[in-house]
Symmetry: C2
């Protein structure tokens, strides 16, 4: 339900349509968001327009790992303090951010930008897997950590990458599966409990 055509010339309708394409916002909530923006034109709408324009203009994909960056090579790839020998493979920039929040991994990344999907015609080339294999071979990478989501697509992609890297001599590892910190057994699915039991360790 768009606003009446009388307000078309303000571009409000076009704005609502664009906002409705964001995840988590439908046509109705996009209209509500636009009304809030209209009420706060100075404090919120203008700064948001500027912030979007700035990011749209400056953000680019890192040539090496696929992370979002302002430069050709991202800050992580350019950081001499990060271990060169370890590459962590993640599906998405969001996963890279999640790994960085963990503050444990001190190596570098490879962002796939998705998972293998025959339905969506996403093959190894779209995910930069040949580029990853070349990088592992050329840079003498000692360990590749596959930090893909524990979903069917994620695990299928992980197996494909493990196969592709088999000849490079790098050690291929994956994140441990088990009980999350703070997790209650009662609320965990059987698969997780089984995986945690199989991977049990001495304390």
């Amino acid at each position: 339900m768009p606003p009446p055509s009388k307000t078309d010339d303000t571009g409000i309708e076009a704005l609502i349509e664009l906002m409705a394409r964001l995840p988590g916002l439908g046509p109705r909530s996009a209209r509500r968001a636009v009304l809030v923006l209209l009420k706060k034109r100075g404090q919120l709408m203008a700064p948001l327009a500027q912030a979007l324009a700035k990011v749209a203009l400056t953000a680019k994909d890192c040539r090496v790992c696929g992370n979002i960056s302002t430069s050709e090579v991202c800050a992580i790839c350019a950081d001499p303090a990060r271990a060169i020998g370890e590459i962590c493979v993640v599906e998405d920039v969001a996963d890279l951010w999640a790994m960085e929040r963990g503050q444990v991994f001190r190596g570098r990344y490879h962002v796939l930008g998705g998972t293998l999907s025959a339905l969506d015609a996403i093959g190894p080339d779209e995910l930069g897997i040949p580029r990853l294999v070349a990088r592992v071979a050329e840079d003498g990478i000692s360990e590749v950590i596959l930090a893909l989501n524990a979903t069917v697509d994620g695990q299928t992609t992980a197996h494909y990458i493990a196969d592709a890297l088999a000849g490079t001599g790098a050690q291929i590892t994956t994140l441990a599966q088990g009980v999350p910190i703070g997790g209650e057994l009662d609320y965990l699915d059987d698969g997780t409990i089984g995986a945690a039991l199989r991977a049990r360790r001495r304390i």
Copy 2:
């Protein structure tokens, strides 16, 4: 949970904070929305920035009724085909849009921009009620339709406006209450059923 500080210089963190201030989006869903925007920099992010900047620059409040417009006087107030003698009082521009979608009302509007609220220090002056009273008296308005929300705040404000307009000679009316079109009695609250019964009419 912001992205790591390494990406600060791209303005992504500032963008996420601004997005999180929209209704319906929290810090987490704002980050998700920004990641989608980052993936669609050309098709979505840049057009959205332009649409926001355009609306922020051109939209202003109509001097007469408070509607959002590109000109000093909005298209509805400037339309000679709309009845001058009828004013529909609404809380918000969203309510004006809802009324216009109904395509029944052919008069003009007065947008309050909220309801009376002692807690939030919103009095009659903030809602432009003295301006409404002057407009009703000066323009010889014959009917003022109070189309406020059927909430406590809305009804309090409606009663205040009805009192304020008592001396102007204009007829004060309010929207009918009853069963919504397509509504099922079983799902309606008792208050609505009672109101619909009291206002029953011959068919």
